[in-house]
Amino acid sequence: MAKVRLLVGTHKGAFVLTSDERRRQWKVEGPTFAGWDVYHVKGSPIDPDRLYASQSRGWFGQVVQRSNDGGATWEAAGNKFNYDGPTNTHKWYDNSDHPYEFLRVWHLEPSPTDLDTVYAGVEDAALFRSTDGGANWEELKGLRTHPTAPTWAPGAGGLCLHTIILDPKKPDRIITAISSAGAFRSDDKGKTWRPINKGLVSNFIPDPDAEVGHCVHHVAMHPSRPDVLFMQKHWDVMRSDDAGDSWQEVSGNLPSDFGFVIDVHAHEPDTIYVVPIKSDSDHFVPDGKLRVYRSRTGGTEWEALTKGLPQKDCYVNVLRDAMTVDSLDSCGVYFGTTGGQVYASTDAGDSWNAIVNNLPAVLSVEVQTLR
């Protein structure tokens, strides 16, 4: 029987939740790295027992942890994130020029083709790659040294590179997203980059044709159709059918098109999920109701999914890396909230159950389907 393993990063440590393919009874283990922010935990698609975790805290900085046994034991990997060459400045909240400094790893993306290759998206925004299992990190500096980089300004969470998508059909293609600079694409393994933000509209940017400056919150893709991208932006849900060369709004009938997460059904490339959040100042679900919205048409037409989710007195947020889907035949969808709940659906969102209720604020959720 297959198993499912959820890797949950929280504000005060990491948790591993495991179940069989029925996904009804769950074992909760943790907290590992107790007391630390664990921004992200993700496993290798090649060997699911190889896990990487980003552990960070203001006192002691960044530690990258690696496990070779599915999270039973961990060892500190390399944590030297040295920007390659002189660093420039980026804009600060008051529009002053602010020196680049490394603060933390937001997202770890293991390679689908090499066990020891893993990418890290960091704050202040840059992309790093390790080819030795996280022991050493090399910056792919073409992104940070893009001509527009001095104009990049941070979002409320910092100037972070939070999304890394490795194209399964074009091994030279990488897509990243930075808050709040926008989405970028490389077609030469990360050497050179170009902004892919045409069609995005952000009211806080005076220039309607601005190439960068958009606060992209998350981008998702189905591996069978990597040229189709879905984006949750700081307002607006967007879709591209040409790998980001152009975008169209697909917010449709959502009650609010502000949010952080977006994800795609494992077997239905046009079925996508978002969790609407009230507004950019009110980072909680609208009307006190936790509702996941699903579109089966790749956007525009959305239905609310509420069965098993609180519909009263609920004011949680769902952060950008905190939703994931498994690859079992009956696609499981999972998400974690800032209120410390992790919810699971075994029927593509028709109904939900809380796996666990009282974790620290959830920062990220990833799932592994173990066969």
Binding site: G58, W59, F60, G61, Q62, V63, N79, K80, F81, F102
Partner: protein, 79 residues
């Protein structure tokens, strides 16, 4: 912890020895690249705050002799 430090015992050589002996602590006391003290930690010895003192000044003899500790103290702040 007790460490052997070769040569003159200064904050720099002492912290180098800490990191050489416990490599998992690299980057958690001093920035990995700049080697600057992390802002939410401070260094003390013999009832003095040495955080802003020269890293290359000799530490007190009692620290070098191992009879007084060198303290790395995290900010007492929650969150």
């Amino acid at each position: 912890m007790q460490l052997e430090v070769e040569g003159e015992v200064t904050q720099r050589t002492l912290l180098d020895a800490v990191e050489a002996t416990y490599p998992m602590l690299r980057g958690t006391i001093r920035d990995q690249v700049t080697k600057r003290r992390r802002p939410m930690l401070r260094f003390f010895a013999c009832e003095e705050d040495l955080s802003d003192e020269s890293l290359d000044a000799p530490l007190p003899e009692r620290v070098a002799a191992g009879t007084e500790p060198y303290l790395i103290v995290g900010a007492i702040a929650g969150g």
